[in-house]
């Protein structure tokens, strides 16, 4: 599935994470924010209803905040993917 990514992540292990109930490709060398951006899924919807994705990628801006395994407002750029992890974007 992640053949094109193997070049940059030689020893990573591929699996799926669950985003809004749907399986999304990920590896253990990916942050959740990276997996979401790779799949073209926004991390959150803004106050006015705009789709938003990672801006700073270093845990500052909260644009990549989503619910991870039931914990709301997680900065997904700081969270490594784990197999079967459940993400809910709002």
């Amino acid at each position: 599935v992640l053949h094109s990514d193997r070049h940059s992540q030689p020893n990573s292990r591929a699996f799926a994470i669950i985003v809004n109930g749907r399986a999304v490709d990920a590896t253990d060398a990916m942050s959740v924010a990276a997996a979401l951006m790779r799949a073209g899924i926004p991390c959150r919807t803004s106050v006015r209803g705009e789709p938003r994705a990672a801006l700073c990628a270093m845990g500052i801006c909260f644009e990549c905040a989503a619910t991870v395994d039931g914990v709301p407002l997680c900065r997904t750029c700081q969270v490594p993917c784990r197999e079967g992890m459940e993400i809910v974007t709002a």
Partner: protein
């Protein structure tokens, strides 16, 4: 015999790693806290990964990491400092639990973040910071085959573009807002730091196929649900460039929040320190970007000085002062070279969102006389980032400054703030061994 001095270092970038290592080598009991998943800070992010083998400064990172592990200093990654509940105590959240950390000496090495400026379209998915695209690529985002425009300001732009180019991305252009003359003046001052000049030249060589333009900036980003193209300008001509990602950051701003919460004196937007990195608060030291944006070398020497000083080795610390002074001059030269041009104030329109957490537009902010009024009337800066993104922008646009920080430094759980049900966090050996 008295117990070993407890030295707590916040931030495991170069400054924090150097400070923690040296203080531990001097016999202090050291805990190094960092909110990122692994040590290294931004410049050394994911340097323990296989893919970082080709990265510049890799050897320096490995040397410090090895030395830190041998020093007995304990690195606790994934740990966010959220509060200072009492004197000489930090409250830390990790994996949804909290614990308090007591210190005899505290070293603040919280680094810097990118400065973001609002322009039409900057909230579209696919518009990110320059360092941000690099960080996300290091965190597993595949960029091979993607078309990326790099823009904004600062020495980071070339480094990021070169990194993305090595990773297989197509760099559709690097647009530095600073005028060519300012960059030429900066280059002339670099005789004292020839390796920096060499590194810049090396990046330019790697990017020889891509256009590099100084005196150009992004005017707007376009796209429906996500970024599709950007328009760049030099104030006279305009060009539209189709792209997948825009990597756009306007140099760096220091992370001052912890220092502010501790009550450290801030001067001209930087943490004020004496010759051995001690702040206005006794026993609290600061090293690296919060004392002036100067990059890796300045961070390392300031970290070494702070580590020595915290351990009481003042004369050894003082011997490093000349090198620190030279690197501080370099930092000031960077500030001058990459000062923001006035035209950037006019990029955002009345409809452009400035505060992304609360979706407050420039038009709404212009109706407010002060930053305080804007917070009260529009909630600008009151969202989860706590003005870390819009604060530097409104300072540039309107001259509003964020004078203080209030706890929690990050959105924290209620039981963390209340101090209920503490998690006795044992210092796990695995925390210190992020590297194979």
């Amino acid at each position: 015999m008295s117990a070993a001095l407890r030295v707590v270092v916040v931030g495991a970038g170069p400054a924090g790693m150097a400070a923690a290592t040296i203080a531990a080598e001097c016999g202090c009991q050291v805990r190094l806290l960092d909110e990122n998943p692994a040590p290294g800070g931004q410049i050394w992010r994911n340097y323990d990964a296989e893919a970082a083998r080709q990265s510049p400064h890799r050897r320096e990172f490995t040397a410090w990491m090895t030395r830190l592990q041998a020093s007995g200093g304990v690195c606790e990654a994934g740990s966010s400092v959220v509060d200072c509940p009492s004197a000489n105590v930090l409250r830390v959240e990790r994996d949804g639990h909290w614990f308090d950390v007591a210190w005899d000496r505290l070293i603040v090495a919280t680094g810097a973040r990118e400065r973001f400026l609002p322009f039409p379209g900057w909230t579209l998915p696919g518009v990110m910071g320059a360092g941000a695209v690099q960080a996300l690529a290091k965190s597993g985002l595949p960029v091979a085959g993607k078309t990326i425009v790099v823009a904004g300001s600062g020495p980071l732009l070339l480094a990021v573009a070169a990194f993305l180019n090595r990773a297989g991305a197509g760099i559709a252009g690097v647009f530095e807002q600073a005028a060519p003359l300012r960059l030429a003046r900066l280059a002339a001052t670099l005789a004292a730091h020839p390796h920096k000049l060499l590194e810049g030249a090396h990046f330019r060589w790697q990017l020889r196929a891509a256009q590099y333009k100084s005196g150009w900036w992004v005017k707007r980003a376009e796209g429906r649900e996500r970024l599709e193209s950007v328009v760049v300008t030099n104030g006279r001509a305009e060009r539209e460039i189709a792209c997948d990602l825009l990597a756009c950051g306007f140099h760096l701003v220091p992370n001052l929040e912890l220092a502010q919460l501790l009550g450290c004196r801030i001067e001209s937007g930087l943490v004020a320190v004496n010759a051995v990195q001690e702040t206005s608060i006794r026993g609290v030291y600061c090293a690296g970007e919060p004392t002036g944006i100067g990059g890796l070398d300045k961070a390392l020497v300031e970290g070494e000085i702070a580590g020595l000083a915290a351990a009481g080795r003042l004369s050894e610390a003082a011997r490093k002062l000349p090198r620190r002074q030279s690197l501080r001059r370099f930092a000031q030269n960077l500030d001058r070279a990459f000062a923001l041009r006035a035209e950037l104030r006019a990029l955002s329109t009345a409809e452009t969102i400035v505060c992304r957490c609360e979706d407050v537009t420039r038009g709404e902010l212009e109706a407010c006389a002060t930053g305080r009024a804007a917070r009260l009337h529009t909630r600008c800066g009151m969202g989860p980032c706590q003005a870390r993104i819009c604060g530097p922008a409104t300072e540039f646009l309107f001259g509003w400054t964020v004078a203080s920080a209030r706890p929690p430094l990050y959105p924290a759980r209620i039981r963390t703030l209340a101090g209920d049900d503490p998690h006795s966090a044992p210092v796990a050996a695995s925390d210190t061994q992020p590297m194979p």
